[in-house]
Amino acid sequence: MSANIVIIDYKMGNLRSVQKAFEHIGESAIISNDLSIIQNASKLVLPGVGAFKDAMHNLRELGLIDLLNEEILEKKKPFLGICLGMQLIATKSYEFGETKGLGWIDAEITRFADTDLKIPHVGWNSVQYANPSPLFESIPDNSDFYFVHSYYFDANRTYATGICDYGTEFIASVQKENIYATQFHPEKSQTHGLRIIENFSKLPIC
């Protein structure tokens, strides 16, 4: 039986590009914020672009915070956070004041320091492996992925699976048990990105 993948719709950007990446590798994925559909999902994907504060507000308004905690932390469903979706699993963010995140990994979302480098960090940049992860299976080390972000996931490297260098080294991807997340956009990163989507869809369902 194929996995029942649900892309969580919390009104933060166009989720269609993530959906079509799953379709491209032969998986179907539903875009929804319906609580019962999410409860029945076998895997959950949280993409998103925009401000952290708005995102947490929307998750709360939709009644998704408790539900996600239950589905991910207790039922241990495989979870993929993308871009803002990775940042939301941190403890807190300093974007437009301090906002509490989902807190699944001890991390703070911090703005890139002002240097000569442009903010946001936009474009193709290479990711060096840290801790091994099934998400990167069959993808060579130091492959390029597409990034668009002004804030990064500031944490110790316990759960880091990939590191990127943009003036400073920052965590480009993490994994903690069933929780997977990438700062870059696999759905915009061509072959290697699609491979990440495929690797996620192949993860065993608990």
Binding site: N14, R16, K20, K118, W124, D165, Y166, K188, Q190
Partner: protein, 249 residues
Amino acid sequence: MLKHRLIPCVLLKNWQLVKSIQFDSYRTIGHPTATVRIYNARNVDELIVLDIDASLNNEPINTEIITDMANECFMPLTIGGGIKTLEDVSIILNAGADKISLNSQAILTPSLIHEIATVYGSQCVVASIDIKKIDGHYHVYNKSMGVLNIDPIELAREYEAQGAGELLLTSVDHEGTTKGYDLDLLRLFHDKIKLPIIINGGMGSPEDGKKALEMGADALAAAYIFHFSKYTPNMIKKELLDHGFSIRV
């Protein structure tokens, strides 16, 4: 380290993708979705599509084709042509594009750049300037409005101040030829403008790309070379990489 990008820049006309030569005499490249699929398979870094029906004939933006192309595009997609309002931008982004490119409307209303950047971020706005050289001087050119009495550098500075994320700089004289990028134009802009520059017009060989990167281009846009030459995107990228440039292969 961020990579230099190789970007096909093609035109949408009569539901087909076309390539122009010096902004005239269009040659058909192919069906939009099929062409995007090929670009995707050929490992280009981004794609720019400018809808010239929308910009020249005042037709509505063709969201159907944009959606179809976006569905095949697993890399950043920039759409331009006929964008006049924030609402147009919203429609294009919802159809699956990642960035929009402004040309005519930015000349008329530069503050539109600021408006879009405020809502969607600077990374979303590619400001496009077409340039024509007359008697040794560079002039802003627009397909509808003709040669304009505006200093190209002043215009680029205005776009920068309004919050554009990058600059698409097209030499009308070099466009659709294979005589190489206009390196003098690039030098002029590179010295005075901080925005990342996507240089467009004239790439005929990997060597042309190398010269433009040496002159400070951030990204290389092209079309002719991909369709009417022996060079594939990967061949070009490999050669640039061999020259020591930071390139995704």
